[in-house]
């Protein structure tokens, strides 16, 4: 089958498909459609008439004139501007917000603060005595404890040393 024949067959098939669409497109509308739509339109709420004006201000009333509407507009402007002026004239300007109160330094007489720095003593350098310290009268008669006595007075250290000694005892016995 050549391409033109193929195209013809395709067209025929598509036409049979379009026939269905044509049938649907030509279906008659239901009876009373127009009347129902007209009724719906009559009963539909009209836009802009939700808030109805009083008759005097509706088109045709005395309040619909250009002069009356202009006066109403002027009154609205006066009320708004007057309210704004009243607020403006009653409000007192406060102190300037740009002033920043700085905290007073701990020692204002020195002039400069420490700036948060903390003095750390150097543990390697001990304090240097500038003068001779004389012992007091109560401390003068008291003999200084002998280091060996002090060593013997400590039972815990003695025990510890005793253990070492006990471990060394066999060596002594051997001697």
């Amino acid at each position: 089958m050549n391409s033109s024949q193929n195209q013809r067959v395709k067209t025929g098939t598509a036409d049979s498909g379009e026939e269905t669409l044509r049938v649907i497109a030509n279906l008659p509308p239901p009876d009373g459609l127009v009347d129902r739509v007209q009724t719906r339109l009559r009963t539909a709420p009209r836009a802009g008439r939700v808030l109805s004006w009083p008759r005097a201000f509706a088109p045709g009333g005395w309040g619909y004139g250009r002069v009356v509407r202009g006066a109403a507009a002027a009154a609205i402007v006066c009320v708004v501007a007057g309210g704004g002026w009243r607020i403006y004239s009653h409000v007192q300007p406060g102190p300037s917000a740009r002033v920043i109160v700085m905290p007073t330094p701990a020692e204002p007489t020195r002039g400069f603060s420490i700036g948060g720095s903390v003095h750390t003593p150097d543990p390697m350098r001990g304090p240097v005595l500038t003068h001779q310290v004389m012992p007091g009268p109560s401390e003068a008669g008291t003999p200084k404890p002998i280091p060996s006595q002090q060593h013997g007075a400590n039972p815990a250290k003695k025990q510890g040393k005793g253990r070492k000694v006990s471990s060394a005892q066999p060596v002594d016995s051997q001697r």
């Binding site: 379009e18 269905t20 669409l21 649907i24 279906l27 539909a44 045709g60 005395w62």
Partner: protein, 195 residues
């Protein structure tokens, strides 16, 4: 009262009468539009929605929109295309929302509305099945091609008017129609391979 006396409310009253008359004229124009185009709009709506109640709802909504914008009626050049465009947008929107409706509803609705003059019950059922199958294939077409194909079935719409309804150029309507016909032919020849 002297003839020279001229008060502002006299002018106001005249304007009011004029406004009322204009309003009345607009309402009459709208009623005439309903009378003239409601059947066409219904058929356009039904061709997309395939449900009588939905189509009627869409027509009513279209005219309600016209009622809301009745002040701009005078500016419209072609009322028919304008109205079809309104209802077209409404039905596309509704179709998009009501995708969950089962296809069997379409077939039963189709059997109810299709003309069955001179056909036996079996022939009517067969025709309905055929139409339902074709419509199922139309639904498988890409949206742009499908829309052009559906609108082209309306003999009263030219390609220029279809272009105006869809908001595209006439040449693109023609090319889309060509593509849609080819796709439809392919689908009808071998429907199972596409599924």
């Amino acid at each position: 009262m002297s003839a020279s006396l001229h008060l502002p409310w006299m002018e106001i009253a005249k304007t009011a009468v004029h406004d009322e008359a204009r309003q009345h004229a607009k309402e009459e124009a709208l009623a005439a539009l309903v009378e003239q185009y409601a059947p066409t709009l219904y058929r356009v709506a039904f061709s997309v929605l395939r449900n009588a109640a939905d189509a009627e709802d869409a027509v009513q909504e279209a005219f309600l929109r016209v009622l809301r914008h009745r002040d701009s009626l005078e500016e419209v050049r072609d009322h028919r295309v304008w109205l079809i465009r309104i209802v077209w947008n409404i039905v596309l929107d509704r179709k998009r929302r009501a995708k969950t409706r089962p296809e069997t509803d379409d077939v039963s609705e189709l059997a109810r509305v299709l003309p069955a003059t001179g056909l036996s019950a079996e022939e009517t059922a067969a025709a309905t099945q055929h139409h339902a199958r074709v419509l199922g294939m139309v639904d498988k077409l890409p949206p742009k091609e499908r829309q052009v194909l559906v609108l082209s079935a309306f003999e009263e719409l030219s390609s220029v008017e279809i272009a105006a309804v869809l908001g595209v150029t006439e040449s693109s309507v023609r090319s889309r129609l060509f593509r849609a016909r080819n796709l439809m032919a392919d689908l009808l020849e071998r429907p199972r391979s596409v599924r």
